[in-house]
Amino acid sequence: MDVRAQISMVFHLDKCIGCHTCSIACKNIWTDRKGAEYMWWNNVETKPGTGYPTKWEDQSVYKGGWKKNFTGEISLRGSGKYKGLLNIFHNPHLPVIDDYYEPWTYKYTDLIESPEGDDQPTARPISLITGEPIDIKAGPNWDDDLSGTPDYARNDPNLASLSPAERDAMFQLERMAFFYLPRICNHCLNPACVASCPSGAIYKRGEDGVVLINQKVCRAWRMCVTACPYKKSYYNWHTGKSEKCILCYPRLEAGLAPACMHSCVGRIRYLGILLYDADKIKDAASANDDELISKQMNLILDPFDPEVIKDAKSNGVADTTINAAQYSPVYKFVKSWGLALPLHPEFRTLPMLFYVPPLLPVMASVTEQSKEQTEKFDSIAKVWNDKWLYDTSTEELWQNVERARFPLKYMANLLTGGDENSIKSVLKKLMAVRIHRRRVTVGDVSNQKADKVLSDVNLSSEMADAIYYLTSLAKFDDRFVIPPAHREQAIEMLEYTGDTRGSAGFGFKEKPSRIS
């Protein structure tokens, strides 16, 4: 057993309100620079939708992640030692800026400098790359809230395996449901970006698992952009270096939560330590499709197990880190309660950011008859009657989940690699917690019924209360359990940041520009 520590995260999708505060917090700190304007290390996309960059999940186009060969070994899909070095002069799978969007600003000076005339002066959009006027074709979150044409949502790669009927059902306007998917770099255990970098500029920090790009070793071979299946490694066209989310490591080292997490309005984000067994990484990454999640869960270790603690100590994991692992909210969501799942486990990078799937779109609308819809329609406000839309009645206990309006297959494609049963079991647990809490707060559910629901999903009422607490009431310190950086090590960190470990995101010693 090779016990290591990983800073890991959980995003609770039911709570995300799609406000993009996280994206802005990140942008203000890290990517408000020339060449990085188009980068959103943290972005929030509407699902179903094509996302950012457009259709990033479609690996038949972008060739990201690992694939399992017939020999049972895994290899990088679009890069790797031979493909990478051969395609170095022209990488056929590299997304170009138009797959994201061309960044722009407005020519505000025109508003005050235009000569007097009959028409109001306008501020025309100009490209932040060329400085010329442009026709804006796309922007960050162009399809936010299913805006634009329905074509955006319909092009979602996760819909591919749904039957035409299921798809149609999803997109009838009156049945439309969606949710938000905030994404940052997953700081994977088997990172494709690291493996694809010919220069060896990308590395995983041993102590906390943060994946970083050494800006001085990056040579713009651009393979990581192709290799990351989540498209979370970005190419800075101005400096000729790739950049990615650094999990705000300077903040983490100072005991602060990363900016996106700290600022999260919906308080959907949790961060904590997970202990894992590095010996099992290879096995977990090359598991069969149906075992990917269980094997990944398996390599996460119980921080209370004396054996694990012993091995962790002998491996140099600090006591404070072990302690933080025991209080980790992430461990609770992922392992103790089994509520959180990795995004697209089939990409085989072993992402260490987990998502609690959203229950609300699943619960939305149970009844099908249009007649009933009309009756429930509020004639004045023209809004759906809440009780009808989100049916919290408990007549038939699992009917909502079983007859979900939002095809479970879709959610399964996103979070379990297509396995509907795992997603169903998580949703049932979430539902059970709601029913249990309804018994406590409203009291219109019989004890017998609520207990049955809980035992159906193997939760005790204490666990349900704990889930409720961490979901709804948790304070800052419950949501973010950051192990302290040790003073003696912290000095080391500062001393060596520039020399041995590069200075990604930490400022530059030389002017960050092309050679002129």
């Binding site: 022209h90 790359i129 041993g206 400096t239 530059f508």
Partner: protein, 242 residues
């Protein structure tokens, strides 16, 4: 004339070599951030294919062709002793030369006509591209006009270049060549001189070591076990690789 020849074939090569060596070391130590291929594929990928790919494969073949002629002229002469084999070599080399030439022209056109690429173009990029274009053009001219270069290069020029590197310059062979060939040689040294200060540095850091390293890279601040070892000293501080 001999002063000029001395400058061209002794002064310039040594200046270029010294500047190249010291410049590379200096830049690598003080401005490592600038060691980048500065790829612009992200801004424009389609027409790059028709420039970058033929150019790079062409220039790589030519580079190693010249290198072999320099290092093992005897072997080249032996190979060329059968005329057919010599013709094959010459035609192949010429084809790669054309490929590099056309690729570079495509790259220059792309650079000039695409607005996005033009904004990331520096004066040095232009200088380097034009010098390379002239150099390849001269090379093609020589190959066409002064046939069977693979043979006379090995016989006449290799000794000169070798004499430069052995610090015993003998320019008699070089000084009597046609001016086109002389220009080709001199320009090569100018380009060498510019390598550390232009985007050409990327050819010095071609990541061949990728083939040997394991795919994953983990870096530790500390030798993990040593930190816990009470008998050890706390002076262990170098970051350790995996």
């Amino acid at each position: 004339m001999s002063l000029f020849n001395n400058f061209l074939f002794i002064g310039l090569p040594y200046a270029a070599l010294v500047v190249f060596l010291i410049g590379t070391i200096y830049m690598y130590r003080s401005a490592k951030f600038k060691f980048s291929s500065l790829s612009s594929e992200f801004l424009e990928a389609k027409s790059l294919f028709w420039g970058s790919v033929p150019f790079h494969w062409g220039i790589i073949f030519l580079f190693f062709g010249h290198l072999i002629g320099l290092l093992i002229p005897g072997a080249v002469l032996a190979w060329n002793s059968v005329p057919l084999r010599m013709v094959v070599i010459e035609v192949t080399a010429f084809a790669f030369g054309i490929s590099a030439f056309i690729g570079l022209i495509n790259l220059i056109i792309r650079r000039k006509t695409n607005r996005r690429i033009w904004t990331v173009t520096s004066k040095m990029d232009l200088l380097v591209e034009i010098l390379l274009l002239v150099e390849i053009f001269l090379g093609l001219w020589i190959a066409y006009e002064f046939r069977w270069g693979s043979s006379w290069f090995a016989a006449v020029l290799s000794p000169y270049i070798v004499s430069i590197f052995t610090l015993n310059p003998d320019i008699s062979a070089a000084a009597n060549l046609h001016w086109v060939i002389q220009a080709h040689i001199a320009l090569a040294f100018v380009i060498l001189l510019l390598i550390p200060f232009s985007r050409l540095v990327h050819l010095l850091v071609y990541p061949l070591h990728y083939l040997w390293r394991p795919y994953q890279r983990v870096i530790w601040y500390w030798g993990r076990k040593k930190v816990r070892d009470s008998n050890g000293t706390w002076s262990v501080s170098k970051a350790k690789n995996n």
